[in-house]
Subunit: 252 residues, 2 copies
Amino acid sequence: MLADQTYRFEHDLLYYECNRTGRMSMEMMLALMIAASEKQNQDLGFDEDNAKKSGGGWVIINYETSIEKPLPIAGDHIVIETRIAAFNRFFVMREWQLFDQAGELVAKVRGLFAFMDLTKRRMAPIPEAMLGTYADEAVKRMPRLKFPAKLEAGDDWTRRDYRVRFFDIDANGHVNNARYFEWLLDALPADFLLHYRPVAFSMNYHREVRLGETVTSQASPVEVGPNVETSHHRIEIDGQLCALADFSWEKI
Amino acid sequence: MLADQTYRFEHDLLYYECNRTGRMSMEMMLALMIAASEKQNQDLGFDEDNAKKSGGGWVIINYETSIEKPLPIAGDHIVIETRIAAFNRFFVMREWQLFDQAGELVAKVRGLFAFMDLTKRRMAPIPEAMLGTYADEAVKRMPRLKFPAKLEAGDDWTRRDYRVRFFDIDANGHVNNARYFEWLLDALPADFLLHYRPVAFSMNYHREVRLGETVTSQASPVEVGPNVETSHHRIEIDGQLCALADFSWEKI
């Protein structure tokens, strides 16, 4: 990584990574991006197990994404490139770019992560040995990502409950951050999801979700009609905020 | 396929294909096996789209499976081999073998499929052109797979409801048969799933499940204690049977 800090992850998209529209689902786009960064961390000798031994782990704070083109379909050979775009003692900004078969840019995601002391459940400095593997210099001020609007759910918002399932929990023992996208988007009408494609989103994580809890996914009303639409989302547990998101949509 | 009727599918297992036990989930084992057979069908020129043009599609009737070794973990390079083990005018028996990194057999699955006229919603003869690509001779009598016990749920069974979500529906417009495994197994206690591994199962599909429906997954009580345990499962919609399954478990 010191020589070339961009990690390249190749994948043939499988049918179950695509949804009813025939295209890659958002959950899977994020899940594959996380897979790419775990591979890079492994390459650097700092996979999850290693991070855990240091008593720490990465926690996602927010994502900002732009989707330039319709997402790939099953069978497509895709490439995800990822790199650490900036870091300081406590935070890392990661960047992913998704390319289609023709090598064209489909989506660009940036995510801000904090390093956490998993025992004390609070932020901790990133281990020195890990920082030493990053090619660039630490930055004083982290670039800022766009946050979703902090809206309260109106009476006209959709509300759907999701009990966290055993298989929502990954090998790290928590609900994977990609999993939230199914809860977020399933709250929108099926008819809307079939006729609109996401072109951008911002997402902000407030609170971890655990096995056995029931989240309520709330989504602002959307209209099938205009060419461009925005949806606002809020995930809560017993009225306590867990995540916020905004999506921009374009008619297919 | 006429020359060599076994199709070989290679895959590097990703973290989201594994669950909290760190091992590949059953849903993902089946999903990858279906991916392997779709690839083979594509190779033969009879992918889903082509089958649909003929007005037909494959419907799963039942699976019988033995799992010889603990399932692979994230990062493992796995191989799935699949072939048509037997067929006649209406049915196909498919076989899959899952091999681990060392090339050792991990699991063997057989599945019986019927060809359906999707407009008339009833069984139809497999198109001649498709049959012509199969290397073997048609059989008069299809081999029989083990069926799960047809038990009514007792008062001591667990019951959990699952509303079918937009993202449960794949590009073919129905709930993918691998998806049922999450509903089946999530009805078992988390403590049991963490300490037992599946060694065999049989599964039988009775009725299709559609978007917006709510399935009830029912599971017989299991005990954390004995070395070997069997669980019985029943999926219903409004009291109407959709699927039956039996799993055998071994203490990890």
